[in-house]
Amino acid sequence: MEEKKIVMQPLSGRRRAYDRVLRFLLYFCAGLTCALLVFIIGYIFVRGLPHITWDFLSTAPSYINDTIGILPNITNTIYIVVVTLIIILPLGVGAAVYLTEYARNKKLVAAIEFATETLTGIPSIIFGLVGMLFFCELLGLQASLLAGSLTLVIATIPTIIRTTQESLKTVPESYREASLGLGAGKWHMIRTVVLPSSIDGIVTGCILAVGRIVGESAALLFTAGMGMSMNSFFSSFGNFIHSSGASLTVALYVYARERAEFDVAFAIAAILMLLTLVINLSASLVGRKLKRK
């Protein structure tokens, strides 16, 4: 008696070739992407890390001693990050709360979301130009850290709005109902129930915004200016309004393109890469915590 067997037809040569070629291409492209990253990080670190010294990090550039230090650029970057965050946090979280908790008109929500998407797509050079025209010239701030920060507020607010909105949406409706059922007012409910349970999302948004601010250059070039000297902001507020200061990215650009100080440029690039690594790592850690919840 014949045995009944299910026989799989072997794949035809053409199909097997199709399979092989595409599979190879998939691995090749993914490998290429990773190789690019490894090359970029490796090259920057090899060229940059040896030039990072304590003096380099802790002094201002001096023409007399003919030394270059990037302390002013570090402090400028920190100031810009802090000021921008202070402004966008309440605004962005407020906008997200409005969109998820208050807005009833669907068309209005769609319009606001479209505006947020649009804002994400606008290139930073346009933010820089409008910021320069409006803050520096019309409001008379000149090229200053404040003008730079305000420009970045416009550029980075979508990040905060979007991440906060996402995490507000994940707060279970029952939480809200329970709170309202116990007699809390709407604002009280948002403050004590909704916002605390979406704090992870807000923190992620902040980290992403910090990443964007630290990496931003085109929007700062003409708004925060290229000043390389040390600004003491604690002594007077006037400094903050009127003195220009280059962030790390702008300093990299100036040293690489206008002064041909490539060692300095690579050292700054290495610092920026380290910052990017830290920011990405912390964002993914917070994000993972969010997911687990």
Partner: protein, 277 residues
């Protein structure tokens, strides 16, 4: 309190309107003075000459060529990487590659510019025997690398959203895994992948700082190995010292760029919405 949130909610709309109106107001005078046709289709930009000429066709064409080139190189690589991440890679491998892609997205554009300037430009000069390596070609390569992360993450999201049943049906009919991916999953995710391409176009056309460092920055009509200027770099390179009509012409360039971006944004939005619906 309600009013306060209401105001916050409108902030995005206010910002967009503010930027649009401001750009239109500051961009129009120069266009009116130069003449729309002369401005858009003039082939010569000599802003500081005794008899200044303000034709931005070289910038427009460079931006279009540069973006097309970047898309031509970046999209296949990004798309393949997205397919790899979504359908082929083991979870453990994907957990290594995905953060790498995120990291690529986080690298500041000046760092890309620096690497392009120090590695790519000299390499291109030696390889093609040019007097100067800074060229449209270098800009295309740098842009292609810079748009990779956006293309990868948007395409991957689209591919992950393809219902499992589609793939299982295809496998049950005897298709191989790779055939299933390319003949079933990819077509099903096509509008999301189209959105990824459009997003890449937007990124590429708006990038300024990286390409200002590798494109050479001379206002030539575009050709692959000559020094060129993009719409974005035209604004960035002259803004520091421009005055009078020259300065206003720069605002007009920004307005043209803004119009390009708005068209891309609307296209992107329609694509993403179609995917949802």
């Amino acid at each position: 309190m309600n009013l306060l949130f209401f105001i916050c909610g409108f902030i995005a709309i206010v910002f967009v309107l503010f930027i649009s109106i401001y750009l239109i107001i500051s961009g129009l005078p120069a266009i009116r003075e130069i003449g729309l046709v002369d401005f858009l289709f003039g082939t010569e930009w000599a802003s500081t000459a005794a008899e200044p000429k303000f034709g931005i066709l070289p910038f427009i064409l460079t931006s279009i060529y540069g973006t097309c080139g970047a898309i031509l190189i970046g999209v296949p690589v990004g798309f393949m990487t997205a397919v790899f991440l979504s359908k082929v890679a083991s979870p453990r491998l994907a957990a290594v590659v995905r953060p790498a892609v995120d990291l690529l997205a986080g690298i500041p554009s000046v760092v890309y510019g620096l690497i392009g300037m120090m590695v790519l430009v000299p390499a291109v000069r030696r390889a093609f025997n040019l007097p100067d390596g800074a060229s449209l070609f270098c800009a295309i390569i740098v842009l292609a690398i810079m748009i990779l992360p956006s293309i990868i993450s948007v395409s991957e999201t689209a591919l992950n959203a393809v219902p499992r049943e589609y793939e299982e049906a295809s496998l049950a009919l005897g298709a191989t895994h790779i055939e299933t991916v390319f003949r079933v999953s990819v077509p099903a995710a096509s509008s999301g992948i189209a959105a990824a391409v459009v997003l890449g176009i937007g990124r590429a056309i708006g990038e300024a700082m990286a390409i200002i460092m590798v494109a050479g920055n001379v206002a030539n009509m575009p050709s692959l190995f000559s020094s060129v200027r993009f719409l974005t770099t035209a604004v960035a390179s002259e803004m520091a010292y421009a005055s009078g009509l020259q300065r206003q012409a720069l605002y007009s360039i920004a307005l043209v760029l803004f119009i390009f971006i708005m068209i891309i944004n609307v296209a992107l939005n329609t694509l993403l919405k179609r995917k949802k619906g």
